[in-house]
Amino acid sequence: MKLHSFTIAFAVLLLSACASTGGRVNADPLEPFNRTMYAIHEPLDENVVKPIAQAYLDYTPRPVRTAVHNFFGNIEDFFSGFNGLLQGKLDKAGHDFGRVMVNSGFGLLGLIDIASDADIPRGGEDFGQTFGHWGIAQGPYLFIPLLGPSSFRDGTGLAIRIAASPILYIPAWEVRTVLEILGPVDLRASLIGTTALVEQAALDRYTFIRRSYLQRRQYEVYDGQPPPEAKDE
């Protein structure tokens, strides 16, 4: 309960900070702080998180990994449906809730993604996108160690998402702990290819990740149809 009121207070604080930054502003006013966070993140990821994810990819059979990925995807689909509703995207929300029902029931608690085989598309919505859809700007960019690129707006969404996570409310602590570890490992493992690409492509990883993230989120908020950006300066 305490967690909830804290989250809400945090959310209100961050969102009001976002709302006041309109127009064309520096997307990363906290750059020195963020670069410090990135400097903390990178060795942690390189030496701890990434090797664990790589070992998971190397030593876990693919069907097991797929089932794990589907299980967490099923939870994400539920939140996507909820955010679809908040944005008034009823067809998307319908697809997501349909997916959750099919996969939770016939797909053994989400372990099998039957809905994708049946071509029911994922909405891919989240709280940050909902705020964006409501017209709230990104606000200052944030780099959070271990969690990666974010912003005041998206970070608020993420805080709500984590606080609402059903896994936190599983009574058996053993199950809860396993899932709390497995979720991030699955997520990091799914990003192995992406981070390898960034390493190859970037002159400065911090800047490259920041620009990619901000572009990607803009694209997601506008469901793949962002307003065109001028190419020539």
């Binding site: 290819g193 390493e199 492509a201 572009q215 020539d232 300066e233």
Partner: protein
């Protein structure tokens, strides 16, 4: 007889060349993307060296099949933004070269990851005499969300060429514009060239 035959071969080759030229010039932008990516996918699937992940061979394929369809000068100048005019012709030449090399390496690395992909081409919405269009495609991978890949293309004398690639909403040119301007701010155009060259030699630390 032999001489006559070789003349015949040359004549045919020349004819073929000239016949090909207007065909390429008339090819629509989406057809150019489709042709290139299908040729590429065919090689990826059939070539044993590419299948084995031979980076040198993959680079060769990218150079031969993909890069003739990219307008590197336009791409580099867009990524440079207003700094492009501040660079002298020699610097511009070096920039195009180094950026090109960086992209071969990146593209080849990415290609090695995407093997069992299927491409879906969206209908082109453009005026028939447009000189600048966006071709939209989608890459479908089993068990994963589709990735939208858009190509910004310009009409040149050698047919349509891409000057920006937007993967899942992330524009290559926009990404590098930040990277380039940051390098130029701290070390000038020569500093950027040096950074690119070091990166391409594999010694660049980021």
């Amino acid at each position: 007889m032999k001489r006559y035959r070789s003349f015949f071969v040359y004549a045919l080759a020349a004819l073929g060349f000239f016949a090909l030229e207007p065909a390429l010039a008339q090819e629509t932008a989406d057809a150019a993307v489709k042709r290139t990516s299908q040729e590429l996918l065919q090689i990826i699937r059939a070539d044993p060296k590419v299948q084995a992940g031979d980076q040198a061979r993959i680079r060769e394929v990218v150079e031969a099949k993909v890069f003739p369809n990219i307008d590197f000068e336009r791409m580099t100048s867009l990524a440079m933004g207003r700094n492009w005019r501040a660079a002298n012709p020699e610097q511009q030449k070096r920039l195009i070269e180094e950026f090109r090399t960086l992209l071969v390496r990146t593209y080849s690395g990415a290609l090695a990851q995407y093997r069992d992909q299927k491409m879906d081409y969206k209908p082109l919405r453009a005026e028939p005499n447009a000189t600048d269009v966006t071709v939209r495609t989608e890459v479908l991978r089993p068990g994963q969300a589709p990735v939208q890949i858009d190509y910004s293309m310009t009409r040149t004398q050698e047919g349509w060429k891409a000057y920006d690639i937007i993967v899942g909403g992330v524009s290559l040119v926009t990404n590098y514009r930040d990277e380039f301007s940051e390098q130029i701010k701290t070390a000038g155009v020569d500093g950027l060239i040096k950074t690119l060259a070091a990166k391409n030699k594999g010694t660049g630390s980021t």
